[in-house]
Subunit: 338 residues, 2 copies
């Protein structure tokens, strides 16, 4: 039983915990400041497969396999798995998870996909329909660049506001076992402030993040001080400034609590990533590789995870449309279960 | 509270009803055998917009608006809406629903999307996290043809096993009010029998439908005779034969109960649609325009709705992959609420 708080905002009443989590990243992410946090760093961008799309599928399969193994489970123990990715028709997910034969719900939230998957999975557990669910997502620099921007071999110049799509995957398994509890969430609303610059996604997504964080704080009657951290997905350097400015205008100051996975995964000085990392796998791998272990170790005990996604396509931009964005929020709390 | 039955199979215990439903179709669908069933037939394939993609968005927006209006609701009364479609990055949904400002969960199940949305939405209601949810999806002949096959202006020859993507949308609103109850469901497993012919989607999807129907019947201890109808999404003429043959091999005979939305929406003799209709909007509009009204009128009282989706992309096929498929099942029962 979940508790209805307001439109799209809820608290879980049944115990839903993160039983297991995993992160698998590419070489560049492994060379970044969080490199030692991840379960696996894959040096080969093809991950032993023929194409980049197949490689991305392999990242997802590996992430789920590690999470299952770490919990001492079999794949048959998972009642449902939620996944999606950036590639057209989400083939990173469908081909990656095909061989697992786990009941599958495909989702699409662009780079917000991991938060969307976690909150939906948590509600399925909470309903009692499933005992154990999983959420996973991935992104791959090479699949995303050629689909959304230009073929890699063109060597296109990147603008200062651009972000670097992470080659990464993260997975969680949710059940009634674990240390970190999902206590609530907020389903995002599609937000479009008219940004049309595909190389400035942080600015397009920041209003969605600000809106979702504000909705959750207001609905739950909490303030930023009630949380150790308020983490956004991949707003990057520009978007992070913007989300804080937008919230400050609403008298909500998150400067002390705010972290952004996109800013953290690369060292901009040495890795030439401009505004930071992006892609579904960015926030998924940083949450699973960095923040969840921090909670498990007791370094933080209460955090909001708000992953953002830009919901355009190359075709919608070619047709002159602006970039609709969304942010979904998951509220996590360290809560040792007896 | 939902009741766990087996992996991916559940029964709802809280009352979750279809409070409202709507269907909006294009001219060709309106000229078909079910033409008089739909809430709206749109003669203009651009629906007054500049591009086909924008037109598809308009179909979704119109379908949701009609469903909201028929129930005497405001859009603010919907706590969460689930939607997805076939266009890359699901822009039919994201741009279509953008202006509604309803908390949004993007889903992707190809032509199974409507069943996926209904069963997930029903579980969100059941959990108590939302009081009223909606599910919607769409497809458009012209957006799908140029994305998945060839530009329309090529005038490409269609093979005998091909299906015609419907220009259509269907929407449901779920709450504790209504006549038709969602009593259970089954989350599909990704199934791939090695079919690589993109013009024979019925054959690719039939094994997924057979698997899901068998799983639900087995888990619930029911037989086809317990249902008035067992409806598949858009297997078309070839896929419909195949699903019945596959189930017969398992000693499950659904010949008397089986209907297929893809076979029903067009008249193959006069409309030159080869194996029938397809697309997310096909089963959504036929369920909402034809089968749900039959239940409301008391002509049938117990039915299974199993929509199928083919989870490939043009790129995965170019890379030599086969077509993974899925089928999600929703169990509907007429149950007059006091």
């Amino acid at each position: 039983m979940a508790k209805y708080i307001s439109q799209g905002v809820f608290a879980l009443e049944r115990p839903v915990y993160i039983e297991s989590r995993s992160s698998v990243v590419g070489r560049k992410e492994g060379e970044g400041p969080l490199g030692k946090c991840f379960d696996m760093v894959v040096e080969d961008s093809h991950f032993g497969r023929q194409t980049w799309e197949q490689a991305e599928s392999q990242f997802q399969l590996e992430a789920v396999s590690i999470a299952v193994r770490k919990a001492g489970l079999m794949k048959e123990d998972i009642d449902v798995i939620l996944s999606g990715d950036l590639i057209n028709q989400c083939i990173g997910s469908t081909y990656g998870l095909r061989e697992l034969e786990i009941p599958f719900l495909g989702i699409y939230g662009a780079c917000s996909t991991f938060a969307e998957g976690m909150l939906t999975a948590a509600l399925l557990n909470d309903s009692g329909a499933v005992k154990r669910s999983a959420a996973v997502t991935s992104s791959h620099f090479s699949t995303a660049e050629r689909q959304f921007r230009t073929p890699l071999s063109y060597g296109g110049q990147r603008t200062p506001t651009s972000q670097w799509t992470c080659t990464a995957s993260g997975a969680v398994i949710l059940s009634d076992k674990g240390d970190v509890r999902i206590v609530g969430g907020c389903v995002g609303k599609i937000t479009d402030m008219g940004i049309t610059d595909i190389t400035n996604m942080g600015s397009a997504m920041a209003p969605a993040a600000a809106g979702t964080i504000q909705r959750y704080l207001t609905a739950t009657g909490t303030t930023p001080e009630d949380y150790d951290l308020i983490v956004t997905g991949d707003l990057g350097i520009v978007g992070s400034k913007l989300v804080k400015a937008l919230l400050t205008e609403q008298n909500i100051d998150i400067h002390a609590q705010h972290r952004d996975c996109g800013k953290m995964i690369f060292d901009n000085e040495t890795q030439d990533t401009h505004c930071g990392g992006s892609g579904c796998g960015c926030s998924a791998s940083v949450l699973c590789g960095h923040f969840l272990p921090m909670m498990e170790r007791g370094e933080i005990s209460n955090m909001l995870f708000a992953a953002t996604g830009a919901l355009m396509s190359p075709m919608s931009l070619q047709q002159g449309e602006s970039i609709p964005s969304i942010a979904h929020l998951v509220h996590l709390r360290k809560e040792q279960k007896c």
